[in-house]
Subunit: 236 residues, 2 copies
Amino acid sequence: MLKPDTDSTGPVAGRDHSMRVERKSLTLRERAADVIRQAIIDHRLPPGKHLKERELCEMLGVSRTSVREALRHLESEHLIETVAHRGPVVVSLSIEDAKELYQVRSSLEGLAGELFARHATDEHIRNLRKTAEEMADAVARDHSEATLIEIIERFYEVLLDGSQSKVCAQFIRSLNTRISMFRRVGLNDAERRSGMMNDIDEIVRAAEERNAGALKQACIRHVERAGAIVMQQLNG
Amino acid sequence: MLKPDTDSTGPVAGRDHSMRVERKSLTLRERAADVIRQAIIDHRLPPGKHLKERELCEMLGVSRTSVREALRHLESEHLIETVAHRGPVVVSLSIEDAKELYQVRSSLEGLAGELFARHATDEHIRNLRKTAEEMADAVARDHSEATLIEIIERFYEVLLDGSQSKVCAQFIRSLNTRISMFRRVGLNDAERRSGMMNDIDEIVRAAEERNAGALKQACIRHVERAGAIVMQQLNG
DNA sequence: AACTCTTTTTTGTATGACAAACATATCATA
DNA sequence: TATGATATGTTTGTCATACAAAAAAGAGTT
């Protein structure tokens, strides 16, 4: 049931340094979309599940109007597929899809890296290192996968923020939403964690040198490796 | 006013060799979205224009329900921006946006090229050449910009089709929709047309050699040049 | 011109309605 | 039994209507 508007969905603390007042009283339909999206991402609404409007209405406590508008949104995010007169179905991703998603992500993150090297402020670079260190720390202390993922997400936000390309960031975020449908697998054994820290280290170093070519390659390789791990899990 | 359902939006002839029955009776909201999208692309609804729901309803002859669902779709395509309680506004693209869009497109089309070289069938390659020849022909006979654009679009469709990556194709199409908001400029003088034909030629040749690296670079360069032209127009 | 108050417009959301498409259960027949 | 036809119930697609809250536009005052 959606609560009035607790503004719990506010901007992530301390990332936006501008003075703009966040006009963020999300509409009901947006919050509905958020809730459904999250449910899809963590498989509470599993792939292939046929979503019925009435059920969603009850589940969310909002009217069909809002639910349907939310569904249109998720539809263009490719999280659901709608067949006329049959209603929306949670997408199921094939191995082939996973491969394609990672290929595209790799390409785009290469671009993001390149742009970061060229456009990021010194503060962005410091932030990148700081977040990388938090990550190393979390790995060293053997924190949970969830914690790690949260830090990784912050790392990417710094990267995207510093690359100063709204368009690039939009696309990568959209990709990541889709990818997170099967990213649940991957970061539990020590070897992989240290492999990842290697990648991250490479990225931070290239960033500090502002070496666009190197950073681009580091980002590409990082995604390729992450993709390879996921593909392996999906196959095995 | 939207007419019943003429199915004029059928599948492009002879590209799908599978036996699936195309289940394609578009819903009203989808057709509404199509009409609005096209109006935005060719500036009949100019950038910055504040869209009022009632006006759209009358203009399209459909109910608010359908219009609003269509708007949600255009919203996630980044063709309009909605501020709560103010309604949707047609996006206006800054020069910076244009630059970013072309950068991303360049990166993605590089990927598409690479994948084409690796995955396309021989028929795809033949089609690519055939379309390129039509293009050369249209240039030689000095056809209209509209004709040329139509052929170029077909060329891209072949490229995307052959690259066999649904995801990549989705993203590039989405980009192109946005870009076409200012692509109206660009292909009228002879020098540019011959420049473009050079690019195309390079692409076709690399494709025929199935040289992934070369094709990737050719695609990247092509988009970069196209972008440079647009940027020039926007600046001057 | 700048400010406040009022009126009008527009959006966000809910509800009820109904035809058409779909799914399911029921029954008839080869 | 398997097949096909029919009736029944669901769900979607679309519309109309309603109303509170937000925003815009006007009106009047200082």
